[in-house]
């Protein structure tokens, strides 16, 4: 049992924090927020040079073989600067699914390019009717003589507008009809019949809705051998929730630091706000919740390779708890900044919005407490 960072992990944390502190200031964030791309290709290139795009990828395909804790260290630093590069879409979700489900050829074709920054990915899975149920997929993939024909709609695809390839989940239909299996298909962004409508995402970056109008794909667009991909999807989303949880911790820490500083400077009734016990106690509660969130993100990271039920419970527990902490810390940060907290003139609002986006993505606290409960009862009755 040891939860101390290794020397390598300490170095990673230092370099990530330094990079974010130096490159990610308010000006940079404003610029990218108004940019149709939503992030900086130059920064993406630097990510590649720093080895961050390769960090969690397998070593045999140009990766560094880092684990979920390493990923969490990086994501927490990203959170501190509200980084908007498509890291989660490309590396945490896209590359992970290819690494897990792809054939050797598919992995060889994609992963080294992700690592060197020349390939961006996205994962299109959520559908409106499914809400947060990962098993519910109406998009269909019909087997044709030449390959596959995909039809359906996807929503809330992170950074899909910037992706060279989009991994689309669809129910496989072969000549016998519905197979009951979900397949993952690698769709080139230029595929005819693929229509992307993107929008600025709450809290920074972009997302899109996707329509597939009988898009024709080659035979080898299907990742792997066509076995049911649902377990892989659940695995990838659990892992992404752990990583996003770490990012939320970074966001919360910045909000806490900023708010603490403000309450020391802002004077009312002839004394700093922080001289009031009610304010001090609120900040103590915020600090405590940041700490609890940090514990939960770490716990989820340490359990990503556990058995599926244990991993899923840890991920849902972390998502639910961090979401709850994030709302509290975010809302109280605005409250303690007073009227200024509600304006676009301070960055508190931008950080808050990213936290709300975190809580929403893949399902909010209520959804994940319920999933946690359901998984627990299954474990008990098993």
């Amino acid at each position: 049992m040891d939860l101390n960072l290794s020397d390598e992990q300490k170095l990673l944390r230092e370099s990530a924090e330094r990079f974010v502190a130096e490159s990610y200031d308010a000006d940079h964030r404003r610029k990218t927020a108004n940019d149709p791309l939503g992030f900086s290709p130059l920064v993406w290139k630097q990510f590649a040079e720093l080895g961050w795009l390769a960090l969690p990828l397998p070593e045999e395909f140009g990766g560094l073989g880092g684990g979920a804790v390493d990923l969490g260290i990086l994501m927490e630093a990203f959170g501190r600067g509200l980084v908007s590069e498509p890291y989660v879409a490309t590396v945490v979700l896209g590359a992970a699914l290819i690494a897990r489900c792809g054939s050797t050829e598919q992995r060889q074709a994609s992963l080294p390019k992700v690592a060197d920054g020349s390939l961006k990915l996205a994962f299109a899975h959520s559908e409106r009717a499914a809400r947060f149920d990962l098993a519910e997929v109406a998009t269909s993939a019909n087997k044709t003589a030449q390959g596959w024909r995909l039809a359906g709609s996807k929503i809330a695809v992170l950074d899909g507008h910037a992706a060279d390839q989009i991994i689309v989940s669809a129910h496989i239909h072969d000549h016998r009809g519905p197979s009951g299996r979900i397949g993952l298909f690698l769709v080139q962004a230029t595929t005819p019949g693929l229509v992307i409508s993107d929008y600025p995402r709450l809290g920074g970056g972009r997302a899109c809705n996707i329509e597939l109008f009988d898009a024709h794909l080659p035979e080898d667009a299907l990742l792997g051998d066509g076995g049911d991909a649902l377990p892989a999807i659940e695995w990838a989303v659990d892992r992404a929730m752990a990583a996003l949880g770490a990012e939320a911790v970074g966001i919360m820490q910045t909000l806490l630091d900023t708010t603490l500083e403000y309450t020391k400077i802002r004077k009312q009734f002839g004394r700093p706000l922080s001289a009031n016990q009610v304010i001090r106690h609120r900040l103590a509660d915020m600090a405590m919740q940041v700490d609890e969130a940090r514990s939960m993100a770490l716990r989820a990271a340490l359990k990503v390779d556990a058995a599926p039920a244990e991993r899923a419970r840890a991920a849902s527990g972390a998502k639910a708890k961090i979401g709850k902490c994030a709302r509290f810390v975010g809302e109280q940060s605005i409250q303690l900044h007073g009227g200024m907290g509600v304006t676009e003139e301070l960055e508190v609002g931008a950080y808050f919005k990213r936290l709300v986006a975190f809580d929403t993505l893949f399902g909010g606290s209520a959804h994940h407490y319920a999933r946690h409960a359901l998984l627990g009862r299954r474990a008990v009755s098993a």
Partner: protein, 398 residues
Amino acid sequence: MDLSFNAEERAFQDEVRGFIVKNLTEEMKRATALTPSVFSDPDIGMAWQRALHRQGWGAPGWPVEYGGPDWTPAQRWIFETECARAGVPNVNVMGVKMVGPVIIGFGSPEQKNFYLPRILSGEDYWCQGYSEPGSGSDLSSLKTRAVRDGDDYIINGTKIWTTHAHHANRMFALVRTSDRPRQQDGISFVLIDMKTPGITTRPILTIGGDHEVNQVFFDDVRVPVANRVGEEGKGWTYGKYLLEFERGSGIASAKLREGLKAIADLAESDLTGRAIDSPDIAARISEVEVDIDALEMTELRVLSALQTGQNPGAVSSILKLRNSEIRQAVTRLGADVIGHDALAVEPMRPLYKLNHEPAIPEEMLTVMPEYLNGRAYTIFGGTSEIQRDIIAKMMLGI
């Protein structure tokens, strides 16, 4: 980073389990499960302390030269966790975890030689004389006075919330030995024999129906100056040192988990009409379980920091605060899970020796008393408000 235990630690875990199986009697287990207050009755708790002592485990946190087992933080974690899982009695922490470390840190050689072995063996049973009717959170305003008279102090005043004073043969107390401008500077730390003439004890019943705390009165009580620990006027420093132990001794998550498990078992039982089938109850169980997970991780992070010699600092306040809040959440959940049976609070004690058939199933007997008594969790050992003051000051610098 690694959450799992290495081979050595797993071997130790087996050793602890073996010890518990051999020494924990059914009687102790049942008595512990049916004790709705913080500490076991002395006959139960001290029997367990004697068993621990025979094994050389009487004082897990002490240095080895005073009889500690020289465990790593990970071993302490394993020990506490296994004890919680098995439901062992709660031993008198006022001796082992509170006054013991103060005597070790600041006591004279004579005091160490006399008191420490008697704490280990369970021969002495300690109580804590800190709070007074007029001095709760503002402890340093305490008024119980010790006036020097030759080789004795003569003590007058009163202490309150004194847990198990009615069982204890010794008390460690903070008393005022001078009126320095800074209140804290006039306080001394003394060890008192409870059989000394002039001491009387008044029981205080708590709202769950338990007699655990008392008020203690001192009427010209003579205590040898040799019973003062450390320097005169430094008692506040020693007392605070002890309070940090009281708050940070926390490997609390394992016990919380067992408490929640008992409630979840009730919720899944026909005794409660399967309360868990209500989605609201199921989600709340998960919510509390996740809070325990977070606390456990924080405890493990502190433990890891301790292993490398780092000081956890104000985190002990976070642990105390969250532990007490989650304990209350568990008891609140319990009260909801048992439904109408919450109305039948059994007044007789001890609950493991009732001479009549209780109105509700035995599994539920402690639920309401624990909920009611448990309101004290966020009050004793420094209220939640005081903990927030400490967090704001120590962690945030405000």
